[in-house]
């Protein structure tokens, strides 16, 4: 299968590539979201700890 056939998917390109595209988005989102959430949690916790330490 050459590159042209690969991209064209026998005429079904829009169906096949849309499906795989959506799959990619879903898979990436499910990995990126916990990463950001973890970072946010750590900064929030650090901020809260600093605040309680500052109060005498």
């Amino acid at each position: 299968m050459n590159l042209h056939e690969f991209l064209n998917m026998g005429g079904y390109a829009s169906y096949v590539w849309t499906s795989y595209g959506i799959a990619l988005v879903v898979l990436l989102a499910n990995v990126i979201e916990p990463l950001r959430h973890r970072r946010k949690l750590l900064t929030d916790i650090a901020r809260a700890t600093r605040r309680t330490r500052r109060t005498p």
Binding site: I22, A29, L35, L41, L42
Partner: protein
């Protein structure tokens, strides 16, 4: 020795660090298997006699559907363990699975719908698999909604565990009912990629993707579980120390 390992694993701190060490390996394994699966599925496997190249959507659709069911069962099982033995880690794993399970269900629905257009000519078709998946999506959304509606995390975990267990008992009933209902309305035009007729050149990428998706699930659930653990244990010393800017 194993007993010691499991005891320590139930400790959130230990779990957090062990899971963290596993993540890169899981990611690497998942990526390799997925690339292999995509290569064999999109390039090596020949076009289908009836469907041409559109059948290749199957390599995402079918594993996603398998995962949607598998994850629900794991979620219900972990919920049950958390409910009966009050193991915090089980509760964490249960809720960490909900969003990724719902995502796979959504993915199965969307890819199924897109695949349906060239196959049956319409964007949505009330075939047994898609309809059951739709109901499964509602079951997932119910769990996510219930968890976020309850303030206390431990109470929320116990309530969603009950819901998940009730749901898992109902899934075979729902699936059977929908399939039965579907045979009345579809007739002989239902095309099933059933087990007996699948060619080996298509089976291999399918299985590769299935295993890749399983590794992906473990990866994501551990990542979410670590977040959940940090959130629950935010008042402990080890978490506060972890949060210290280096």
């Amino acid at each position: 020795m194993f007993n010691n390992f499991f005891h320590k694993l139930a400790s959130p701190k230990y779990f957090y660090h062990i899971a963290g060490r596993l993540l890169p390996w899981l990611a690497a394994g998942c990526a390799v298997l997925m690339l292999a699966g995509l290569y064999y599925g999109l390039i090596v496997a020949p076009p289908d006699y009836q469907q041409g190249d559109s059948y290749r959507i199957m390599f995402v659709h079918v594993p996603a559907a398998w995962m949607s069911l598998f994850i629900y069962v794991v979620m219900a099982g972990a919920g049950a363990i958390g409910l009966v033995w009050r193991i915090k880690l089980a509760e964490v794993i249960a809720i960490s699975s909900a969003t990724v399970g719902a995502s796979f269900t959504f993915l199965a629905l969307v890819t199924g719908s897109i695949w349906g257009k060239p196959m049956w000519g319409t964007w949505w078709v009330w075939d047994a698999r898609l309809t059951s998946e739709l109901v499964l999506l509602f079951l997932y959304l119910g769990i996510i909604a219930l968890y976020s509606a309850i303030d206390d995390k431990r109470t929320a975990a116990r309530a969603t565990a009950i819901l998940a267990i009730v749901g898992v008992v109902n899934i075979p009933i729902i699936h059977f009912s929908v399939e039965w209902w579907n045979t009345l309305h579809q007739g002989p035009t239902v095309a099933k990629f059933g087990a007996p007729s699948i060619d080996i050149s298509m089976l291999i990428p399918l299985l590769l993707m299935a295993v890749a998706f399983k590794l992906y699930y473990v990866l994501v659930v551990l990542m979410r579980a670590r977040c959940e653990v940090l959130d629950r244990e935010r008042h402990t010393g080890w978490v506060k120390q972890l949060a210290e800017p280096q």
